[in-house]
């Protein structure tokens, strides 16, 4: 459980205080969202270093531009616009550099460097040990083959649990377009994994 019960009602007060230079208030805003920002960046970019770059840049932009925030949308939406734009830039650059894979050469052949990073529910789920490494590899490959926007919508919907309406707002598109994007993503994933599931 997070410390969010009474937080949301205070968010506007925190933003206003941070806009006046209150560092504590800014710190509280960061802490309210930074874990999910880091998780989003890490899952999308599959590189702790790139995820940390996005984290730094995103919150620095928030810090520098907070005075321009006019409550036209929620703070969450505004922050996620910044984060998703930064992630999309990284993903597109990576496509150009053809460095899409996070696989590195290990002593026993190629391994995904993110395998060394803790996965959610790994400890709490006893069936985790039964999970096929091959299936996981196929899922990761299928995810990497989605377009940057499909990957983003899938990430925001499936892993971050955001509604399509909110995702459309974040990505500057309509709910319908976000839905089509998610539909294409899940269809591609189903085709790629059809013989496994």
């Amino acid at each position: 459980m997070a410390h969010k019960a009474g937080f949301q009602t205070d968010e506007k007060a925190l933003i206003l205080a941070a806009q006046k230079g209150d560092q504590d208030a800014f710190g509280q805003l960061v802490r309210a969202y930074d874990q999910s920002v880091l998780r989003l960046a890490m899952n999308l970019l599959r590189s702790p270093e790139d995820a940390q770059d996005v984290y730094q840049e995103a919150f620095l932009r928030v810090y520098r531009n907070l005075n321009n925030f006019r409550f036209d949308c929620s703070f969450h939406t505004w922050l996620y616009r910044i984060v998703t734009n930064l992630c999309l830039d990284h993903m597109r650059k990576r496509k150009v550099r053809k460095e899409e894979s996070s696989l590195v050469e290990g002593s026993d052949g190629p391994v995904d460097r993110m395998d060394t990073v803790q996965e959610s529910r790994a400890e709490s789920d006893p069936q985790r040990t039964m999970f096929s490494g091959e299936l996981r590899e196929r899922i990761q490959k299928a995810l990497s083959e989605l377009s940057a926007r499909e990957r983003m919508v899938f990430e925001l919907r499936h892993y971050q649990g955001l509604k399509l309406r909110n995702i459309g707002e974040i990505l500057g598109t309509t709910e319908e377009a976000a839905k089509n994007c998610l539909f294409r993503a899940t269809q591609k994933m189903r085709v790629a994994l059809g013989d496994f599931i």
Partner: protein
């Protein structure tokens, strides 16, 4: 496209809860009468469950490091730049005297923690402590010289009573130092002795509500025990009850909030247990997963003859 094909295309959106009311109704109706589509739904559920298992949770160390880096970058954006000559910086120490004593203490106390790895080893520079400085900028000066702008941090030992305002300011800041849970724990422990002061109590409440470290939160709760009748303390404890991730903290919060309910002989008394607290306990019962905490909460509700669900 026949009905089965159309329904199967919608299964993923069904699981995401993104179908309209009418679409969902039509899919549900079809599924009731079509075993093949129900099997397809099961496969879709398995697919979604498989997706879940490749999600990465960032390690706490990466989050911690990110926060530290952000704090450093923001501090750097705010740091004043003293564009004076290197000669002035190190041979004319009068600037030290002109700085406020408290500011110096604060810089020394916290700066060492904020920039632990930024010291540069200046061999041959005997006038300064090489471990307590970093070069902010360099530029060429006249006559082939160079001007170096340095940020300095110096450690100082300060001592004094808890009622000394300067000491207290430092302690109140240290209690919120995000980089060092050990420091926060010790500081909160010391501050507990002065919790009768509003500013100290506010800091303890802040630690109780926001500190990431359960040990620090528990320590802060200890300091607030004598003030459990105060509204702001009760509000903070109610927040702990509903949102603290540590079952031990939630148990302690129940004990404090329900002091006086049921004496040692088991007799029931509802002294001080207001509607808000009963409501909070009932809300807790709706989502509490820990059996022990549930048991404690249920026992209190029984003692005051309140139901688990409504008041």
């Amino acid at each position: 496209m026949n009905t089965c094909e159309k329904v199967r295309e919608q299964l993923s959106m069904l699981l995401y809860g993104e179908l309209s009311f009418d679409e969902e109704g039509a899919v549900d109706t079809h599924l009731e009468g079509c075993a093949e589509c129900r099997a397809a739904l099961e496969r879709e559920q398995e697919l979604h469950a498989a997706f879940d298992r490749v999600e990465i949770e960032p390690p706490a160390s990466v989050l911690w490091e990110s926060r530290q880096n952000l704090q450093r970058q923001i501090a750097a954006e705010h740091a004043p730049v003293y564009r004076v000559s290197w000669w002035d910086q190190f041979l004319d120490a009068r600037w030290l005297k002109s700085a406020g004593a408290l500011a110096l203490l604060s810089i020394g106390f916290f700066g060492a923690r904020m920039f632990p790895n930024l010291g540069l080893g200046f061999t041959g520079m005997s006038l300064v402590d090489p471990g307590a400085q970093r070069v902010r900028s360099v530029e060429s000066g006249p006559n082939g010289g160079v001007q170096i702008v340095l940020d300095e941090t110096r450690q100082r030992v300060v001592s004094g009573g808890l009622d000394d305002q300067n000491i207290r300011v430092l302690l109140l800041s240290a209690a919120k130092d995000p980089s060092d849970p050990g420091l926060r724990y010790e500081t909160v422990g010391i501050l507990n002795d002065r919790a009768q002061a509003t500013e100290v109590r506010d800091t303890l409440i802040y630690a109780l509500e926001h500190d990431e470290n359960a040990g620090v939160r528990l320590k802060a709760m200890d300091g607030l025990k004598p003030f459990v009748r105060q509204a702001e303390v009760r509000k903070a404890l109610a927040g702990v009850l509903l949102s603290d991730g540590n079952p031990g903290m939630r148990t302690q919060a129940i004990d404090l909030l329900t002091q006086g309910v049921g004496d040692s002989t088991g007799n029931t008394t509802s002294n001080g247990l207001d509607r808000d607290i009963i409501g909070t306990l009932q809300e807790l019962m709706n989502h509490e997963n820990n059996a022990y905490v549930r048991q404690r909460g249920e026992r209190v509700l029984q003692l005051v003859n309140a139901s688990r669900d409504t008041y």
